[in-house]
Symmetry: C2
Subunit: 420 residues, 2 copies
Amino acid sequence: MTRKNVLYAQSGGVTPVINATACGVIETARAHRDAIGKVYAGKDGIIGVLREELIDTGKERKADIAALRHTPGGAFGSCRYKLKGIEDNLREYERLIEVFKAHDIGVFLYNGGGDSSDTAYKVSQIGKKLGFPVQCLGVPKTIDNDLPITDCSPGFGSVAKYVAVSIMEASLDVESMASSSTKVFILEVMGRHAGWIAAAGGLAQREAGDPPHVILFPEVTFDEKAFLAKVDKAVKTHGYCSIVVSEGVKGPDGKFLSDAGVRDAFGHAQLGGVAPVIAGLVKDRLGYKYHWAVSDYLQRSARHVASKTDVDQAYAMGKAAIELALAGKSGVMPVIERLSDKPYRWKAGEAPLSRMANREKKMPKKFITKDGMGITAAARTYLGPLIRGEDYPPYDREGLPKYVRLKRVLAGKKLPDFEV
Amino acid sequence: MTRKNVLYAQSGGVTPVINATACGVIETARAHRDAIGKVYAGKDGIIGVLREELIDTGKERKADIAALRHTPGGAFGSCRYKLKGIEDNLREYERLIEVFKAHDIGVFLYNGGGDSSDTAYKVSQIGKKLGFPVQCLGVPKTIDNDLPITDCSPGFGSVAKYVAVSIMEASLDVESMASSSTKVFILEVMGRHAGWIAAAGGLAQREAGDPPHVILFPEVTFDEKAFLAKVDKAVKTHGYCSIVVSEGVKGPDGKFLSDAGVRDAFGHAQLGGVAPVIAGLVKDRLGYKYHWAVSDYLQRSARHVASKTDVDQAYAMGKAAIELALAGKSGVMPVIERLSDKPYRWKAGEAPLSRMANREKKMPKKFITKDGMGITAAARTYLGPLIRGEDYPPYDREGLPKYVRLKRVLAGKKLPDFEV
């Protein structure tokens, strides 16, 4: 077996644990020096690969690579850059192969979601066609948990834990104050097209009547009347109402509620924030005092409250990707296979990239209660294990997490510049 | 010494550690059964005292009282209810004394901020006047850190840690994506009149150039031109810009920026959120892609990432309040005295309530950089120790914090009803 160089790239929105996957890739590759030569990482993802900006991970200290396991963000940089179809965009695909050739890349690992699976699949095809076959593998990642086949997506479990812990804590706060102050609290979470993250808020409920009392999903058309009735009932029953709302909730007109036309004093459209829209509704129709929070990137980077299950799985996917590559595989992605719910057991499996690409896994109907504003026991069985276990980053003496910043030394360029 | 009953009440907005103070009060009282009889807690604060809704903490299990140390929110309920001056409102003061008499209260502990100090002070005066002298003590608490005399306020350190950790994490996320996506991230934090919480975001900077690149304080009039120039420079220098903004930032007209007249599609004024206002400005004037988060109650309840210094101090203030009461003191409040910065050392001291009441401690000018958008070395020296140390709550097997919910058994009523 000739020693292969590996090229790893992060793609799309980052997660609290995408670097744990990078850690799994690099540490596993380093453990197989007989078969694997250098491990490069694309600077800012595929854009860096096209520009021939390849970070030589061999220049990073062992301790720093280990620290990737507990560092959020994307340590090598990521990007939102979807390669078009090969017909429309042959030049970019050819460039990728040129870069692979120039740096003797035998394995390309693309760490992303559905779009990235599609790209990795196409690259595996074009390599063969252009006479430089490269093993192309996807590595799963997305906080949205919307990848098909895999039981869950690394990144999701930690965001789910953040949302469940946060709504539990904020609800204790609101409950304390409700007799004379805020009665309705609204937490906006991510999930433009699928309600997995919002659903995770429901895990904070341990007993009937526990908050959150209302969850709004993108899968369920917003029913203003039913929503207001449920909020009012919660306030009358429990003294307060705690709400988790997905940014992707749509009204009967099919438009995002957050695009409801909020304008500032100058008449400019004000972007984003379904929470203030819901808050306005509560105030106007029910007259309750409210507070709202938009967790935005905080939820996506909150490594300080990561799920151990998620961190383990993220690492395992990186490790499995290298192991699949060593086994000669291409056009596949390691996935998480659930073996049992109780006790929760899982293992790394694999799936063909052709089946992963461009398919979104929405929440099944059976996970949403009949009134469309809560989660079922089936959802709890599925979601519960994904937030289990704590995996704190180490902290320094100043009380801050010891997140690593890599040196990111670029390998020497061998090709002419390329405009991206 | 006759055994005294103690009445404890939580006041105003709760904090991640106000229950740690309650824990300090109750555990210390229980350790002095020779001198202290029952410990009652007002249900929903002073409102419950007026209504004679007194929670008998003696009915709570030892383990549950211990768990208060790691449980956010206000375990007995709090309220925003400021007693008016005695002249305008003699009836309420008389009622308090009636309740004290009926339940043989010898010590009243009011756990709050400036307003509560004022109330506790007045109650101590009226008790003497009405012939039922009660020892009235304040116990400090506020996330805003705006109490005078005490070096810091319990609650602040944990919010400060949450904000520093969160902006550090979110900035790693933005930095990863900035080459092709979001370039400006804005985190809105609390602090209507004082910028202590916003300043804490600055602790995330370990080296020059580290995020957050801009901090906006209520103490500094918003200068749009200087702000935009600084944001633009950060993006051009670092590739992205990370911003912490206090909800209390005001424009040159003296109005809150968040009240800039944002209206929804129906023309209703939309309340709150300075972050979207700043985001709109960045978009309109600089054209950068942005994201914004409003942490709202999440910051105020995030016990999962509390500062150990803060938890220790919160507990110590509760303990000190009982000890001061045992020493026969009244009209005072335990405070935190800083003995040295390096190493950080502190002890519990005391201050007269008359000097605590209705005085707000703003950020000193020397804590804010000349350009008005950052913190100085002096600020770091002061703020740094307050976020040091971790003090995680225990988690259950489901991956959620084991926050306690007390039984809250009310003592039997002995008086006629009273309308609050």
